[in-house]
């Protein structure tokens, strides 16, 4: 198990290096000059000489290999460069806003898992009954309705019922946990609806599949309590594919809530993405992509390790 984990950890490095390289070059293919855009926005008319001067100051006139080397050398030290717009460290900028995104992702995940596990399990156990059909209808809805639109509905419903929106400036989780969670509850629900639908459907079908397996029949033939048959013999096997889905969705939430963050006006990574693209902030964009990609890779690693603890066949393959 230790060896498995160590090996998976070592594999993370080349993956991240490849991502970094890809991001660096992709961002530079995007048309438009960020410096010119910025200066035009700030001062109106600018001469090419002024732009060149500014570009040189920001290091954008260095040959590409040099820029690349600077970028790559900075990475291991956690240096993602300086934002072209705010001229503050990209790392600090992201660090200041990623916590809210992670918090929202975690909140949505916990909420979804809490809702989806019982629903998916019960739907599988009561397959073909009205209860199963009801859950399947609800979850189909979750897949079909876009999260941001559902979020907008939520906001309108809140306005209609409570008459006001949750405060926009979010209190820190540790300062005022309740207020903080109340603020995040609505976006978490709006994202979680789809998320829990995905998990519940996955869980339902994998439980049904597992319950038809020969070893479930063996467990019953041993005279075990039905509860033991389902939880110990069934669920553990059924969890395997579900864990993957939960992990992938969670990773997606960290960087992927671009629209939902707009709708609920949350100052997270998603909104940052929009701003970075809007202002053509190359370094910020590459930093963001890299951070999101890293969290994706790390979450996948965690899923793999969890998978190996659940399934001995994977553990022993290596």
């Amino acid at each position: 198990m230790l060896r498995y984990t160590a090996k998976r950890l070592l594999l993370v490095l080349p993956t991240l290096t490849a991502v970094a390289m890809l991001v660096f070059f992709l961002v530079r293919v995007v048309p438009g000059d960020p410096v010119e855009n910025k200066m035009m926005g700030e001062f109106g008319d600018v001469t090419p000489e002024q732009v060149l001067k500014e570009r040189t100051r920001l290091g954008l006139e260095d040959p590409l290999p040099i820029q690349f080397m600077n970028f790559m050398v900075g990475l291991p030290q956690g240096d993602l460069g300086i934002s072209l717009v705010t001229e503050r460290s990209v790392m600090e900028e992201i660090g200041g806003r990623i916590s809210i995104s992670i918090e929202l992702a975690l909140f949505a995940t916990i909420l979804s898992v809490l809702i989806a596990f019982p629903l998916g399990t019960l739907a599988a156990l009561y397959r073909g009954t009205w209860f199963d059909y009801l859950i399947r209808m609800i979850t189909i809805g979750g897949l079909a309705v876009p999260s941001f639109w559902f979020g907008m509905l939520l906001i309108m419903a809140l306005l209609a019922v409570v008459g006001k929106l949750p405060s926009l400036d979010t209190a820190g989780l540790f300062e005022d946990p309740l207020a903080n969670l109340y603020t995040l509850l609505w976006p978490a629900i709006s994202v979680g609806y789809r998320y829990s639908a995905v998990i519940a459907r996955m869980l339902r079908s994998s439980i049904l599949e597992v319950l038809a397996e020969d070893y479930i029949r063996t467990a019953r033939a041993k005279g075990l309590y039905e509860r033991v048959v389902i939880v110990k013999h069934g669920m553990r096997n059924a969890l395997l594919p579900t864990v993957t889905v939960v992990g992938l969705e969670f990773a997606f939430l960290i960087g992927g809530l671009v629209v939902t963050e707009q709708v609920f006006n949350i100052n997270g990574i998603g909104k940052m993405f929009v701003e970075a693209v809007q202002f053509n902030d190359l370094t910020m964009l590459q930093g963001l992509v890299l951070v999101v990609a890293t969290s994706f890779v790390l979450i996948n690693l965690a899923v793999d390790i969890l998978y190996a603890t659940l399934d001995p066949r994977i553990r022993y393959q290596t």
């Binding site: 060896r3 090996k7 070592l10 073909g128 397996e213 020969d214 070893y215 029949r217 063996t218 467990a219 019953r220 033939a221 041993k222 005279g223 075990l224 309590y225 039905e226 033991v228 110990k232 013999h233 553990r236 096997n237 659940l310 399934d311 001995p312 066949r313 022993y316 290596t318």
Partner: protein
């Protein structure tokens, strides 16, 4: 412990009018129809029949393991050890399952939970039923594992099922079934998925446990040899009903139902030379959605008459013990005419019809290695799996060469290498004097065809039978024009015993036997001179298996096709082959003409194989002393040095693990790869 053996007259289980119905999308299927039977304490009862006859459903319904949503079980009574199971609430039924009545399933590969350790799965029933503590249960689990012959049980209980071989898993299953010392163990085809030498180990173990502990065993099987070798009494099932029952001797010596007779006549005998064509029961078992009225066998019965439209009563079979009963109007006639019921055996035809002299296929030093990479820590290195290693043989025109051996012996790899479905690693393959290579194989494929094992997955489900058969004719431009091709399709279908109208059917609309006929027709479409048959009958029921074997032989005699017949069933290979090649772990062990090889086997592996396979004759089986090979087939990743069989060989010496034995001539046409035999 012998006292158990003597009281096999006390009734342990009495089932009266058991009825199981399944609700399906197309109607209600009565899978078990008013079946009554008894199991005595400590006895070994076999329920025998072909697939779909209701034997497994009977077992599962006794354990109440059928899915409640689709299965309805009714019975007048199911008295088990004084308790009526038919009225028992589920909560009490649970305390019977695994405690007093346990079950062993067919597939050891899938019947154990992959994510729980063997120890965990073995201690569960002990903790649940016997209120043992975890510690006590573990001690008992170790005892049980060593009782079923698993070495190093202390380590084994911490392992997972995937670390066990198939035979070991089935032993673990038996240990689970045995754990609470039940009164009855139901074994549902416990050895069907296992190799013949492993089958012998498992069945001996079951028999031994039954004798020692006085546990009754209900063995569900389709294998008549297994029945003859192990069962005290036999119930024969056909189309949801028990049609004949009696002691093993009753059933085999004086069968009274035409189906029982047909079943026995349609399996080739391992211990006897061939007696001409196999007897076949024509047609297929009835569809239980709409079973025929009266005797359900009547449509396939060679002696059916108008009286058979009424359901025959269960009556004592004549000239037999009172235990022997049968459901047939004409049982007396059957009893006295059993030998001629399915045609007279032409006992003179002990050898196969002669074949041509011209060598069609010459294989020399064939090697088929598969590279796999093994990881050790962070490094990986490539290892060759020698699936086939230095194999040489010839096939003459119109000859059948049998290729026999257990799983992993390389027989299928050899077939695929000859066809260049996998490119051989080394050696020469000549077909009709032409050396085959990647370049000219396409031209030769017309002459060299293949029939696959699984008629269910080897036909494209989205193509109609007609399209499947027309395609090769079209590709190889054997007939010009649609009309000519369709005529050829009709001709092919007739040739394999199907009807031309079946060209419009999809494969799923056909039965297994019919599909295998389509597979044969597809091979025939190109008018080949040789067909490689890879386990062509192993997925089929015995009565259908006989039809296909006869068809292959008929085609050989009319078209002069040569066969390479790959199979694990020794009796079938003996019946159909002129010559037989025995393989083990990629190496040829022995080659000989069919009868010579079977009557005078030389190689210790061939002997062990023949010894392990039971024959359908209780008298022979009772007097037979088995030497059963111990252990599993070694991993081909790490084959033993010298003779690959040396690790399991009863006569191996130190020299055997040093020297790779050459294939030496023992008698004309009979070669053996064993240095011990050479020394004699």
């Amino acid at each position: 412990m012998n006292k158990h053996k003597n009281d096999k007259t006390d009734v342990l289980l009495e089932v009266e009018e058991l009825e199981v119905e399944f609700t399906t999308g197309v109607g209600t299927v009565r899978a078990v129809d008013k079946t009554s039977f008894k199991v005595h304490k400590g006895e070994f009862l076999a329920i025998v029949g072909e697939s779909g006859c209701g034997k497994s459903v009977t077992a599962l319904s006794l354990m109440r393991l059928l899915p409640k949503k689709i299965a309805t079980v009714k019975a007048n009574k199911i008295i088990f050890d004084g308790l009526d199971l038919s009225t028992l609430p589920e909560s009490e039924m649970r305390t019977i399952r695994g405690r007093h009545m346990s079950m062993i399933f067919q597939e050891p590969m899938t019947s154990l939970n992959p994510v729980l350790t063997i120890g965990d799965q073995l201690t569960e029933p002990l903790i649940t039923h016997l209120n043992m503590s975890q510690k006590e249960a573990e001690i008992r689990a170790i005892e049980l594992l060593s009782m079923v012959g698993i070495p190093d049980p202390e380590r084994r209980i911490t392992q997972y099922p995937h670390q066990f071989s198939g035979g070991m898993r089935q032993r673990a299953m038996i240990a689970i079934g045995l754990s609470c010392e039940p009164k009855l163990i139901i074994a549902d085809e416990p050895t069907t998925a296992l190799d013949v030498t492993i089958q012998a180990q498992i069945l001996e173990l079951l028999k031994d446990i039954s004798d020692r502990l006085g546990i009754a065993v209900v063995l569900i099987t389709h294998n008549l040899g297994v029945v003859a070798a192990y069962a005290d009494r036999v119930n024969v099932m056909y189309a949801a009903r028990i049609i004949e029952r009696g002691t093993s001797t009753n059933i085999f010596a004086t069968p009274a139902h035409p189906y029982t007779v047909g079943l026995m006549r349609s399996v080739p005998r391992l211990d006897k030379p061939r007696v001409g064509r196999l007897a076949t029961i024509e047609g297929m078992p009835p569809n239980l959605l709409d079973p025929p009225v009266g005797c359900r066998f009547r449509e396939r019965c060679p002696i059916a008459e108008s009286r058979c439209k009424e359901t025959p009563p269960t009556i004592p079979a004549s000239n037999s013990s009172p235990e022997h009963t049968v459901s047939c109007w004409k049982s007396e006639f059957v009893n006295t005419n059993a030998a001629t019921l399915y045609g007279v055996e032409t006992a003179t035809e002990t050898e196969k019809a002669a074949h041509g002299d011209k060598v069609l296929l010459r294989v020399k030093g064939l090697k088929q290695y598969f590279k796999i990479s093994l990881r050790e820590g962070f490094r990986s290195h490539d290892v060759d799996i020698r699936a086939v290693d230095d194999m040489s043989f010839e096939v003459r025109e119109g000859e059948t060469v049998g290729l026999v051996g257990e799983s992993g012996c390389g027989k299928t790899s050899a077939g695929r290498a000859i066809l260049h479905l996998n490119t051989p690693t080394g050696g020469k393959i000549e077909f009709d004097g032409n050396l085959l290579n990647g370049g000219n194989i396409a031209a030769v494929r017309r002459d060299m065809q293949v029939i696959f094992q699984d008629p269910f997955s080897s036909l494209n489900p989205r193509m109609k039978v007609g399209q499947i058969l027309e395609e090769p004719v079209k590709v190889h431009k054997l007939r010009e024009g649609k009309k000519a091709r369709l005529d050829r399709v009709a001709e092919l279908l007739t040739q394999v015993g199907l009807y031309p109208y079946m060209a419009d059917r999809y494969p799923h609309e056909l039965s297994g036997g019919q599909r295998q006929r389509v597979g044969i027709a597809r091979a025939l479409a190109l008018e080949p001179r040789m067909i490689i048959c890879d386990e062509p009958v192993s997925a089929l029921d015995v009565s259908v298996q006989a039809q296909i074997i006869n068809l292959l032989e008929d085609l050989q005699s009319t078209l002069g096709i040569a066969y390479v017949f790959i199979a694990h069933d020794l009796a079938v290979v003996r019946h159909i082959s002129h010559r037989v090649i025995v393989m083990y772990l990629g190496k040829v062990m022995e080659v000989g003409a069919g009868n010579a090889l079977y009557e005078n086997p030389q190689h210790p592996y061939t002997r062990a194989l023949l010894d392990a396979a039971p024959v359908p004759d209780p008298e022979i089986e009772q007097n037979r002393k088995r030497t059963i090979l111990e252990g599993d087939i070694p991993s081909p990743l790490n084959p033993p040095s010298g003779c690959v069989f040396s690790t399991r060989c009863p006569i191996a010496t130190k020299e055997c693990s040093d020297v790779v034995p050459p294939l030496d001539e023992f008698a004309p046409g009979h070669t053996v790869a064993c240095i011990q035999i050479k020394a004699n």
